[in-house]
Structures are given as structure tokens and as C-alpha cells.
């Protein structure tokens, strides 16, 4: 990966997660009705951070889970290889909850569309709100985030990556040159 610039560093990352946690609590008037669901794989780590943060602020246990949206993707057909399923793990009833759906980067909106469809097959949440670390624009569907870490308008040739300690060894948001593979 050829890093062009570092948009958020480790300290900034921590502050951004803290702000997102407070915004979520402000909007929902506390943590009583909310549950956090991360979209696998990278949204899962950000979701865990938010859970830790909110639990510390509110001093209460939060329900959280992970969503593997692979089976709901709109680009599965005719693939040379099949995405490996990591599985959806949601051990509580989503019905009646205010679900905070978490992903690292919001781009075309197609992943979020798939996640919404899957969530609604799991039950009837009171509401679904979307929290992302980065909104990089270029939407292909009418979807917008409720909580955004940072807006990063990107050119077609740029890639945005949210790095996290758990898998990348550091917390950061970086811009890189485009790599093959296209939009996701």
C-alpha cells in the first residue's frame, strides 16, 4: 500500500471515536435503547471501539453484534471466487431497538443497502442509524450517514483506508493510490 497522506493519526482517531460515541448518546438520549452492530470485517473493529467507549461513558452493558452481508450483496453473481463467509453473530432480538450500524468507510452505499436488508430480515428495529469513520462520497444509492468521523472528498484515483490496531497495527485514516479491485 502506497500511502499518499495521513488524514487522521492515532490521537485524532481516538478523539474521533470519542466524539462519535457522544453524538450517538446525544441523539438517542442515552444508551438505554441502543444496540451496536458492526459490518464485517472492518466495521466490526470500529463497532467494538464504540461499544467500549459508550459503556465507559454510560456505565452500562451494551448489546452488540456483527453482520456479514455477503449473502445480501448485489455483485455475487458470476464471480471467479466466492467470498468466504464469516457469519452474522447477533445474539439478541433487534426488534424495538435503535440499531447503530457501524462501518469504516461509506462509499457507494451498496454495502449499507445489503446490511439494511439483512437487518430487516432479522426483525423490526425501532430505528437504524448509520455511523462511519469516513464518508468519501461517490454514492450510487440514496443513503446517508447519521454519524460521520470525517468527510473526505476523494478523486476517482484515490483510495481511503481506515487502519485499526487490531488488524493493521496502528490507528489511522490514510489516502493511497488506487489499487486494482475497484469499488466495494
Amino acid at each position: 500500500m502506497n500511502i499518499k497522506s495521513r488524514v487522521i493519526d492515532a490521537a485524532g482517531f481516538e478523539r474521533t471515536v470519542t466524539r462519535l460515541a457522544h453524538e450517538i448518546l446525544e441523539r438517542n438520549k442515552g444508551a438505554e435503547t441502543i444496540a451496536i452492530i458492526g459490518i464485517r470485517t472492518r466495521g466490526e473493529f470500529l463497532a467494538k471501539r464504540l461499544v467500549d467507549k459508550i459503556q465507559r461513558i454510560e456505565n452500562r452493558e451494551l448489546q452488540f453484534g456483527f453482520l456479514d452481508i455477503t449473502l445480501y450483496r448485489d455483485d455475487l453473481r458470476g464471480k471467479l471466487t466466492q467470498p468466504i463467509l464469516k457469519g452474522t453473530v447477533i445474539s439478541f432480538d433487534v426488534t424495538g431497538k435503535d440499531i447503530i450500524l457501524v462501518d469504516d468507510v461509506l462509499y457507494t452505499g451498496r454495502t449499507v443497502r445489503a446490511a439494511l436488508d439483512e437487518l430487516i430480515d432479522l426483525g423490526r428495529p425501532q430505528s437504524i442509524q448509520l455511523a462511519v469513520m469516513v464518508d468519501r462520497g461517490h454514492r450510487e444509492l440514496p443513503i446517508k450517514a447519521d454519524f460521520i468521523g470525517k468527510n473526505i472528498p476523494t478523486a476517482a484515483g484515490d483510495e481511503v483506508h481506515v487502519l485499526m490496531k487490531e488488524i493493521d497495527g496502528e490507528d489511522a485514516v490514510v489516502l493511497t493510490d488506487a489499487i486494482e479491485g475497484g469499488k466495494s
Binding site: D68, L71, R77, Q82, I84, G87, T88, D117, D121, L122
Partner: protein
């Protein structure tokens, strides 16, 4: 997301049998099935994955459980499903398998699930049509999806298959389940043996790397799992053993027999069971039995196979 997305594919675009299937492919199917087991616990047990795909279940031999399991798997992946059974079809009018399949394929079918009395029928089909072929049992040859669900069920119970001592008991000679089980279990590193009357054990079965027991008590003593096959009463007609009673006496799994070994024993059976012939009722319904678990896992395993094959190009 290109950086983190990891994907794999099966070596073959069909599922014809487990003979020669690489271990990684067996593992990929079992791992994938785990996600589908979760889907089966949801309030809405359906995902849109195979929307727009058409699957025909081409059953030239009667089957209730396998066909039902396939059909559920197909519908839960949102595929369109067409059923065909030989007793009400043009096969009765003398049409060949190739013509039947070609006609069906002209109707834009993506996947053909076939059960046929002739060994090799799915392999033949895979050469004459473009659709993806899934073998749902061909003669006394293979029944790969049954073996995969057996493997899944064993792995779920024991954590891993490697090193497990598994004995297949009963009519090995006429069983497609036995052969697929042997290939799958060997690929995953299990120690496999077979047990039954001499007349029902194929000569030279040892060549597959399995041991042979002619006494059930020996098999029980050395095994963690007994996979008990159905005695095909309709096939027997007294030719392979003198009487059903005698078979039960020597090879029927009973609680008394299992109690002789002082360790937990696991019993599996592909169904349908002849109660109190190969398996006594109190074992089939008892704490040893994984039989109903096998049925549940069967749907998940078939969904996994259809997902892996059906989304490929």
C-alpha cells in the same frame, strides 16, 4: 473492499463426488455451512443470494428426505425451483437421460441436482450440458452431500475430524453413502473402518485405506462414531444374509452392546431407519444419537454447496 476481502473457489464447478476432493475444499464447504446454520436460526430463514437462479431437482429415483432437504436449501437461497420425478415423466415414455437434460437446459436452468439409479449419471450429464451438476446420489457410487453433512455433524460434535475413529456399519456394498463417507473422512484425516456381514463388504475395500471388522463388538470397541447404514430391505430379498432376525442378532446396534464399552459413543444414520433392525429404537432416540442433528445440518450444508457453486461464473 479489495484489501481485506478474502475469497476462495472450489476446484470443480460441479459436485459429482468426494473422491479426489482436496481437503481445503471439504473444509471450505464445512466452514461455509456454519454461516448457513446461523441463517436457519433466524425468524426469516431466507437470504437473497441465488435470486434469479433456476435449479431443477431431477430425481430419477424416489427420495423424500434428500429432495426435501435440497428444495428447502434452494428456496432459502431464493432460487427458483423446479421439481421433476421420473415416475410422472417422459422417462417412462423412453426418453434418454441426455435428451431429458438437454430439453430441460433449453429452459435456461442454472443448476441440475440429480439422483439416478445408475452410477456415473451425474458425471455423464456434466459432459453433455452446461448447467452446474450436483450429485444427489448415483447408484451405489456416491452421495456427496450426505457425506458432507455427516462430516459437518461430526466436526460440530468433536471439534475436528482428524484422528476420529469412525466405523461405517451395515450394507457397505450397496451404499453410496459409505463410499462418499470413506473419501470425505479419509481426506479429513479420520481413521475409517467398515463393519458388516462378509456378503455386504466389497472385496478389496481395504484399498481405500479402511479396516474391516466382521464382528460388531470389535467395531464398537475401537470407534468413537458408528455411522449405521440402512439395511435396504427392498434390495435384500434374502440373498445376502439368511434373515432379518439374524442380521439384527449379529449387526443390530442395541443399548446392551453400547453399554459394554465404558465411554461415550456417537451414533449416526443417514435415514430412513429400520427401527429395531440395524438400530434399536432406544438407541436411535437416545443420548448417543445425532440423527436429527444430521437432518438439520443437511439443509445448511446443501445451502453452502449451492452458494459456492451457484455464484461462480
Amino acid at each position: 473492499m479489495p484489501l481485506t476481502e478474502s475469497s476462495r473457489r472450489l476446484a470443480s464447478r460441479h459436485l459429482l463426488g468426494l473422491e479426489g476432493m482436496p481437503k481445503e475444499d471439504v473444509q471450505l464447504i464445512l466452514d461455509t455451512a456454519k454461516s448457513f446454520r446461523e441463517v436457519l436460526e433466524r425468524p426469516i430463514k431466507k437470504v437473497p443470494t441465488l435470486q434469479g437462479k433456476t435449479i431443477v431437482n431431477l430425481f430419477f429415483e424416489s427420495s423424500t428426505r434428500t429432495r426435501l432437504s435440497f428444495e428447502l436449501a434452494e428456496r432459502r437461497l431464493s432460487a427458483d425451483v423446479v421439481n421433476f420425478s421420473a415416475d410422472v415423466s417422459s422417462v417412462k415414455k423412453g426418453e434418454t437421460l441426455k435428451d431429458t437434460a438437454r430439453n430441460i437446459e433449453m429452459m435456461k436452468i442454472d443448476i441440475i441436482v440429480i439422483r439416478h439409479a445408475a452410477a456415473g449419471a451425474p458425471h455423464f450429464l456434466s459432459k453433455v450440458v452446461n448447467a452446474i451438476i450436483v450429485n444427489a446420489g448415483d447408484g451405489a457410487h456416491e452421495h456427496p452431500t450426505q457425506a458432507l453433512l455427516d462430516l459437518y455433524t461430526m466436526r460440530e460434535k468433536f471439534g475436528q475430524i482428524e484422528g476420529l475413529n469412525v466405523c461405517i456399519v451395515g450394507d457397505i456394498a450397496h451404499s453410496r453413502v459409505a463410499l462418499s463417507d470413506i473419501h470425505g473422512l479419509k481426506a479429513m484425516g479420520a481413521n475409517v473402518s467398515v463393519c458388516g456381514p462378509k456378503t455386504l463388504i466389497p472385496r478389496e475395500i481395504e484399498r481405500f485405506g479402511v479396516r474391516v471388522h466382521y464382528k460388531l463388538d470389535d467395531a464398537i470397541r475401537e470407534s468413537d462414531v458408528l455411522n449405521v447404514l440402512r439395511i435396504q430391505l427392498e434390495r435384500q430379498a434374502g440373498a445376502y444374509f439368511p434373515t432379518i432376525r439374524e442380521y439384527r442378532e449379529y449387526f443390530g446396534i442395541t443399548r446392551e452392546r453400547l453399554d459394554k464399552v465404558k465411554r461415550p459413543m456417537t451414533i449416526m444414520h443417514p435415514g430412513p431407519i429400520n427401527r429395531d433392525v440395524e438400530l434399536s429404537a432406544n438407541v436411535a432416540d437416545g443420548e448417543h444419537s445425532l440423527i436429527l442433528q444430521q437432518v438439520l445440518n443437511g439443509v445448511a450444508v446443501r445451502m453452502a454447496i449451492l452458494y459456492l457453486l451457484g455464484t461462480a461464473n
